[in-house]
Symmetry: none
Subunit: 423 residues, 2 copies
């Protein structure tokens, strides 16, 4: 069923708040197999709201609106939607009672605040609507059905909207859906977006059910495989051969086949499997790789220590980088990256150490080593590797890419190490 989301609120149009409601509802709709074709944001303006709602009801089966259900003059979502759908407003006794109880409690906690008559406007509902109780605020949610079209009105604050959606709207929509949608993620690192796109071009061109959608992230490419079917089992059966084919094409560059698994989690899992402890010696990333690793709950088992050695002094003192290396080759050099990794491993007494040193800009670039030049070192027993990178973009972009490619490089080195050990 074609679904459309409308967020009502001038504060979104002014950029005062980020529209997280639409992201939340979109994800839930995808889970329910509803095809969201549009998200719209419109302000608290009657004319524009009317047009937006009319257009949405014309082209979609289900329209979910958030915001504009409050007690102020500006809150018009219910009035306008009812008008567009040709439904009259009547007082809902149950809502009126709930509201009275809520306001009673509120008054007790906030004796200095006045309760305005406006509040009772929230108990007026379109005749024939399904009323959804709001356990976290005063504005009830509403489901309006007419001539095969459905409008669902939810309060704007996420703390009221989300519980109401989960409790009432999700089961309501699930019943409406004859078909199930199921999707699986395949996450790839160490290959660029366009190469991935090219290698699956034939698959994407011939796809019907399931479909493959690529998402480019910094240093990663995610492929979402989505199937429609009668039930989850049928969907999984449709997805399985596609995942198998992707595994054959991308091999070890696939670091996860679960939606929720991040690259840092894949790295931490690999460390645990290989029973390796990790340390990090960071210069230009200034601790950002460590912060990514610590994203993983329970990383402390394997991640023993991070050293942020942004100054040369710290590189010498903490990592024992030699004076002559810094003098002869500079802090941003193959030699320095290697010594940082070796020294970091020694100082932290860990099995493996990743080091990064580079020029993030805006200053510090030279003709030989322009901004974006990054050296990474990785040291484990019997081996120290160095890789050179040249990233594009401003300081933040260079560092972001360094972090992502640093994690991928660490993963590559760990796989190599395990290969050597097994041979």
């Amino acid at each position: 069923m074609i679904t459309e989301l409308i967020s009502v609120g001038t504060e979104i149009l002014l950029g005062n708040i980020v529209n997280t409601n639409s992201a939340y509802l979109s994800e839930k709709c995808a889970e329910l197999g509803l095809s969201v074709y549009y998200q719209t944001v419109v302000g608290d303006n009657e004319t524009r709201m009317r047009e937006t709602i009319q257009t949405a009801l014309d082209r979609s089966d289900i329209v979910i609106l958030t915001g504009g259900l409050g007690p102020t003059e500006d809150d018009l979502t219910k009035e306008v939607t009812a008008e567009v759908m040709g439904m009259k407003l009547v007082e809902d006794r149950h809502s009126r009672k709930l509201m009275e109880a809520y306001l009673e409690q509120y008054k007790k906690n906030n004796p200095q605040r006045k309760i305005t008559a406006n509040n009772y406007k929230q108990a007026m509902v379109p005749k024939g609507a399904i009323v959804l109780d709001n356990h976290n605020g005063t504005a009830p949610g509403l489901v309006l059905e007419k001539k095969g079209k459905t409008a669902i009105l939810l309060p704007g604050p996420p703390g009221e909207m989300r519980p109401m959606f989960e409790e009432s709207v999700f089961p309501y929509l699930r019943k409406k859906q004859p078909e199930i949608i199921y999707s699986q993620m395949v996450k790839i690192c160490s290959i660029g977006e366009s190469q991935v796109a090219e290698e699956i071009e034939d698959l994407i061109e011939s796809q019907t059910n399931p479909t493959i959608a690529p998402y480019a992230k910094t240093g990663e490419v995610h492929l979402r495989i989505t199937a429609k079917g009668k039930n989850e089992k049928e969907c999984k059966k449709l997805i399985k051969p596609v995942v198998k084919e992707l595994k054959a094409r991308f091999g070890r560059n696939i670091f996860a086949t679960e939606e929720s698994k991040s690259l840092e989690e894949a790295v931490v899992d690999m460390l645990k499997e290989q029973e390796m402890t990790l340390s990090l010696a960071e210069s230009c990333t200034g601790g950002a790789i460590a912060a990514r690793i610590v994203n993983v709950s329970g990383a402390s088992e394997v991640f023993l220590q991070g050293m942020v050695t942004y100054s040369n002094k710290a590189k010498r003192r903490c990592l024992d980088v030699s004076k002559s290396t810094l003098k002869k080759h500079g802090a941003v050099s193959e030699e320095c990256a290697a010594e940082m990794a070796k020294g970091g491993r020694k100082a932290s007494k860990t099995d493996i150490c990743l080091s990064v040193t580079g020029i993030a800009g805006p200053g510090g670039g030279t003709k030989e080593k322009p901004v974006g030049t990054v050296f990474m070192g990785c040291s484990y027993k019997g081996c120290t590797q160095v890789r050179e990178f040249h990233f594009q973009g401003n300081r933040a972009r260079v560092r972001e890419q360094t972090v992502a490619h640093g994690l991928a490089f660490l993963r590559d080195c760990m796989m190599e190490r395990a290969d050597k050990e097994n041979n």
Copy 2:
């Protein structure tokens, strides 16, 4: 001028990513005095994209589109917009050259990667369009003007879109505006959003020109004062007394009155002024505070060393936290935070050291110390302070708040230290 934002991307309609681009652009448009009436999200579907763009160009003067400029088959924004506006695509030599240089560099760094012909599709531009260079990726931005309507096409990744907007689009739009709009930012830390809102309620209620708009950021509140006038001088004159009043109300909690100045920059500036060197001892934030400090170009002058001591072992070895403290009070305690700060200062031989230790979740919480409990320590000559925080939200939110409040705490301590010295 009526402005409308269109984000193109099925990944937004699936809820895979939150639409932060629209929030960013809305804020910038407000700053420019452009009235944003609608934000729309549409998928990578030719028919729906055409309808959406047509509707937007009919009802608005300026349409800003983000996303769908990449090299894949799915990327259709440029093609469809050019078609709707009746403009033909031609190869742009300059873009082609830039792309070749970018890809050449990319090939050097990634010798195993193939460059696909797809990439060159990005050098095709609508005839007569203004081409905006992309210094952080391959897809150029575009400005299309026809019959009094303007379409601005920007790449979807925020790391590419934002610098392009600031460098090229902002000045372009500013020129289009007949009236001058001028705004100044007042940035506040160490006070909550609702307290700020309450303290300026009277100012906001009585405002006409200039206006004050509050934006809540993590650990910060930004107040944008915007004036309309004939020229910059007139605007500045209108803004001056408001800034003065805000300074009187918020005093030292104001850390910046410049748009571009970040909290970490304010901290680094203060360190330079006070001639102090800094070290950081981070547990639950895992290097994220260090990464924020290293955001500041030239931070190496004052930031000597970061220690990421996520494990107890590292807390003991690097920071000399005593065994008995860890055993008796635990790693997340006032005592441990104090010892971490003192030990970190000693180990790094710096003038001041900030430490953080806390429970970011999802595991590790107890009744006495629930998830979100964070202790911070700050040590300088003759003084070690500890502050306790209780943050709400998931792991990422707790850490994000810890980083922001950590920087604010460090700033507070430095001001106190300077006060003591001056008395």
